[in-house]
């Protein structure tokens, strides 16, 4: 828990004046449940298919791997396809169990260390590819959610032009209503991470003539690799 | 059945033939039209410019003329919308109730035909390609979108085409057109372009002010050949019984 900062003395009277000027509270608006249009599909195959469709509509790539080895192969292939020479990886149990760093090194991809004497963003800017796990995936929208933490840099899924996310079946959820549940559970249990980023496809803009362009600031390409089988 | 006609001031002074068509079509459908004398205005020019209190006297005048009517029918959706707002003008409970009751028996013309009389074919015939403009006060204001289309679909020989954006505002907006003529004209230009692009020879609407405004826009665009007609005028065409000549 961060140290609670002192509020500047000048701010308190301002706050109190503002709060006093607000209108009186009205009778509480009745709370109704969230609308839940998205349901979890009956079986895994359907779930992965739903994810694949959602990602395709976003212009993101989806690969379903039948094993850990296949998953590693997909990541190496994505690196090859996009001319990746250096990569930034999360320090994450899933990536470690897959032996991803070694596999990439074997494919002549320079794996940049996560420690940096200088600021991390310029460091991350060297990488052509960032690889993360996914802390949650929402099928309705094709959203990959990542939490920040030690070894789980924000920049990894943001700064390099290619983001690869490894998704275990256990993190699949139906839709955004489930995100609310998830965040609430996190807050009540281990506490919310300093950042949760919900990533829905590549970076986009249509600010020039309403023409859709990918890779405005964030990654131009997003590759999601699903692990159809849990790792042994 | 009798229907009391509320004749909008635009019809009274500028498009009386719309009032005549309304009366004839109702008569043909077995409804006896009654036109109380002493009508003036529903008051929306006052209301829309913020002079809501001043409308109260007009609302009382309306109730005096119409509150014993079986039904009140008007060829103007905006007038009907104004009349439906009359109850909110009265603090006096009995006046408010009178206003609510009369308003509940007040209908826009096409709404009355389709939803109260159950008419879909009014017996009209009119060979033309026509596009329907969803007036804001009728479509959004009263929720009346299907009835005019239903009635037009029942007109023999009429080819209905949909505008690309039939419910885009024509730009009249009452006092708006006088106060912001450049904006009003620019909005109208977009509507006229839409009408011309549809290939329609006739643009039909259920709101008189839209028709007059659009007609001016068509003239400005050099497209005088496109007529702007009220739903009632279209339904007044080509009636087969021959007892009452249709207006040309």
């Amino acid at each position: 828990m961060a140290e609670k900062p002192e509020m500047p003395e000048t701010s308190k009277p301002t706050r109190d004046r503002i709060l006093a000027a607000l209108g009186a509270s009205v009778e509480a608006v009745k709370r109704t449940p969230l609308v839940r249009p998205a349901q979890m599909p009956g079986d895994s195959r359907e779930a992965w298919e739903m994810l694949g469709r959602a990602l395709a509509s976003l212009g993101a790539d989806f690969r379903l791997a039948g094993s850990g080895q296949e998953a590693v192969g997909e990541v190496v292939e994505a690196a090859r396809l996009h001319g990746v020479r250096s990569a930034l990886l999360w320090e994450h149990p899933l990536l470690e169990r897959l032996g991803l760093a070694a596999a990439l090194a074997g494919a002549s991809v320079d794996v940049i260390p996560n420690d940096s004497e200088t600021r991390f963003c310029p460091h991350a800017n060297i990488a052509d590819m960032g690889v993360t796990a996914a802390d949650a995936v929402f099928l309705e929208t094709g959203t990959v959610a990542v939490w920040a933490g030690p070894g789980r840099e924000r920049a990894t899924s943001l700064v390099p032009p290619l983001h690869v996310a490894l998704v275990e079946e256990s993190v699949l959820r139906a839709g955004i209503a489930d995100l609310a549940d998830l965040l609430r559970e996190l807050a009540a249990s281990t506490g919310l991470p300093s950042a949760v980023h919900c990533i829905t496809g590549p970076s986009t803009t249509a600010d020039i003539g309403q023409v859709l362009v990918r890779g405005a600031h964030g990654p131009k390409t997003v590759v999601v690799v699903g692990l159809a089988q849990p790792l042994p | 059945m009798h229907a009391h006609l509320f004749i909008p001031c635009l019809v009274e002074h500028f498009r009386p033939e719309i009032g005549e068509a309304t009366a004839r079509v109702l008569a043909r459908l077995g409804v006896v039209p009654v036109v109380p004398s002493g009508q003036t205005c529903c008051g929306q020019p006052l209301y829309k410019t913020g002079f809501a209190d001043e409308v109260r006297a007009l609302a009382e005048h309306f109730l005096d003329l119409f509150d014993d009517a079986e039904a009140v029918v008007s060829p103007s959706g905006s007038c009907v919308a104004m009349i439906r707002a009359y109850p909110s003008l009265f603090e006096d409970v009995s006046l408010r109730r009178r206003a609510e009751e009369t308003a509940s028996r007040t209908f826009e013309f096409s709404e009355f035909l389709v939803e109260r009389l159950g008419v879909t074919d009014a017996g009209a015939g009119f060979r033309a390609r026509a596009a329907y403009h969803d007036s804001c006060q009728v479509g959004r204001g009263l929720g009346v979108r299907r009835p005019p289309r239903t009635l037009l679909a029942g007109v023999r020989g009429l080819e209905l085409v949909e505008l690309a954006s039939s419910d885009d505002c024509c730009g009249f907006g009452g006092a708006f057109s006088a106060r912001f003529p450049e904006i009003s004209g620019a909005i109208r230009e977009a509507k006229v372009r839409d009408i011309l692009a549809s290939g329609a020879e006739v643009v039909v609407a259920a709101e008189v002010s839209c028709l007059s405004h659009i007609a001016r826009g068509l003239r400005d665009a050099g497209a005088d050949h496109v007529r702007a007609m009220h739903v009632a005028e279209v339904l007044d065409q080509g009636f087969a019984s021959g007892s009452e000549e249709a207006a040309s």
Binding site: R31, E153, C198, V213, A216, H217 | V35, E54, L58, F180
Partner: protein, 459 residues
């Protein structure tokens, strides 16, 4: 930002003649409208989503003081420094002080209408800070020395060719296609993200239950602004607080769909405090400025309060025939379209935007698309009534209204006035020159005779 809304009538007159802009806006609006429509048609119960989002925002407004206090406490628990600012000057002073204390010299900014409202960029620049807008549309208008013309598409008024010329002039490099132009901006801006000291953003929602800031975007510039620089300053207008994550989800279900037709924005970030001790990126210190600037007064006004539900989707702009005809700059201040016509007089006072309430055809297209059920045209009508009651209308209008009201109560006199109006009118004289009431007796007789003969339908 200084308001020119008192010259709104003149600005719109000029803007309405700009056919080039009108064509661009017509195209852009049609694009946004069709995307929005498709997105809502694709969900099973669109009205339910709108209802639940409206509830979330209404609940906020109903408990605003309580939620703001809870938010402040949770933010504190998360280590965020909270500042309150009564008006634009105070907010600017707060941010300037932060910049000074933190030794900031370069700033990267995410798109934020609230920072436009308070004129933050100009103030920081006058302190000698280098302030760079990073949202592509904002970057473009910043290069052009203009303000944004639209809530979600700041450079919507500029064609691709205009942007290409702008880049050539200001950056010394250009391209033909939107993609290549975007890549030029990406390269230029990337360098700045990596070296900036401070990132300034707005806030889409602030969650009272946890002190979490919620930020939506498609480009990634907001994530970069809150990941790379050492300091994050978030500026928030006080109505942006929501109670909990369910309410966040309710708004997320309608906001991107209403804005661009997306199911969800490319990035939705939930920031709870600064980077933790063992993390390598994210801001080291986070400040939140909670701004009033006229909102408390609006909140206390029951007839106007509902405009504070706004989630800044921009759908009302795309739907509004007036906005499409005149564009965003004509509104003279920060907010354009129907919500601009409400917020400008709402926040600045009716007397500073006196023409805005009348500049509405009351078509209601705005209310039809609003995901939080604001009835813009009804509120504008309320403002008109207030103006008339307080004598804020012109003498000519008041005199005209008095005259009209008197005539309309006297049928005979009204009839004469009608004749005069017909003579004077540009609509021209109707055929036969007789008003309807003079034609009616003859028509009635004809109809009665026809009915008696058994023609003309049922009894």
């Amino acid at each position: 930002m200084k308001s020119r809304a008192d010259t709104f009538a003149a600005l719109t007159r000029k803007a309405a003649g700009n056919r080039h802009q009108a064509r661009i806006l017509a195209g852009a609006s049609a694009h946004f409208i069709s995307k929005r429509k498709a997105a809502f048609e694709a969900v099973p119960h669109p009205a339910e989503l709108v209802r639940r989002a409206t509830e979330a925002r209404e609940r906020t407004l109903g408990k605003l003081p309580e939620l703001l206090l809870r938010l402040e406490e949770r933010l504190g628990d998360a280590g965020v420094r909270v500042h309150w600012a009564a008006d634009a000057d105070e907010a600017v002073a707060v941010v300037s002080d932060i910049a000074r204390e933190e030794g900031v010299s370069t700033v990267v900014k995410g798109k934020s209408m609230i920072t436009e409202e308070i004129g933050l960029n100009a103030a920081l620049e006058s302190m000698g800070l280098d302030v760079l807008e990073t949202d592509l549309g904002e970057y473009i208008v910043q290069l052009a020395g203009e303000g944004p013309s639209h809530i979600i598409a700041p450079a919507v008024h500029k064609s691709r060719e205009e942007v290409a010329r702008l880049f050539e002039e200001k950056l010394g490099q250009t391209a033909r296609e939107a993609e290549e132009l975007t890549m030029i901006a990406r390269r230029v801006l990337r360098e700045r993200f990596l070296t900036a000291d401070m990132g300034i953003t707005g806030v889409n929602m602030a969650v009272a239950e946890t002190g979490t800031l919620v930020l939506l975007e498609n480009e990634g510039n907001i994530r970069l602004s809150t990941t790379c620089p050492r300091v994050h300053v978030a500026v928030m207008s006080l109505e942006k607080v929501v109670e909990d994550f369910d309410d966040v989800a309710a708004v997320l279900a309608v906001l991107p769909r209403s804005a661009t037709g997306q199911k969800l924005s490319s990035y939705v970030s939930f920031l709870t405090g600064s980077r933790r001790g063992d993390e390598h990126d994210g801001a080291e210190v986070t400040h939140l400025v909670i701004l009033d600037n006229g909102r408390s007064r609006l909140h206390a006004d029951p007839e106007l309060r509902s405009m504070l539900r706004c989630v800044r989707c921009g759908a009302c702009l795309a739907a509004c025939p007036v906005y499409r005809a005149v564009g965003g700059h004509a509104y003279g201040w920060v907010y354009a379209g129907p919500i601009g016509a409400l917020l400008t007089p709402g926040l600045l006072g009716l007397e500073h935007a006196a023409d805005m309430p009348a500049a509405c055809t009351t078509c209601g297209a705005c209310a039809e698309v609003c995901p939080v059920s604001i009835r813009h045209h009804d509120i504008l009508q309320t403002m008109r009534i207030r103006q008339a009651k307080s004598g804020q209308t012109s003498l000519a209008l008041r005199a005209g209204a008095w005259l009209f009201a008197h005539l309309a109560r006297r049928p005979a006199v009204f009839g004469i006035a009608g004749v005069l109006a017909r003579l004077a009118s540009p609509m021209g004289m109707p055929r036969g020159r007789k008003p309807f009431s003079r034609r009616w007796p003859a028509l009635r007789n004809r109809l009665e005779r026809a009915s008696a003969k058994g023609h003309g339908g049922k009894d």
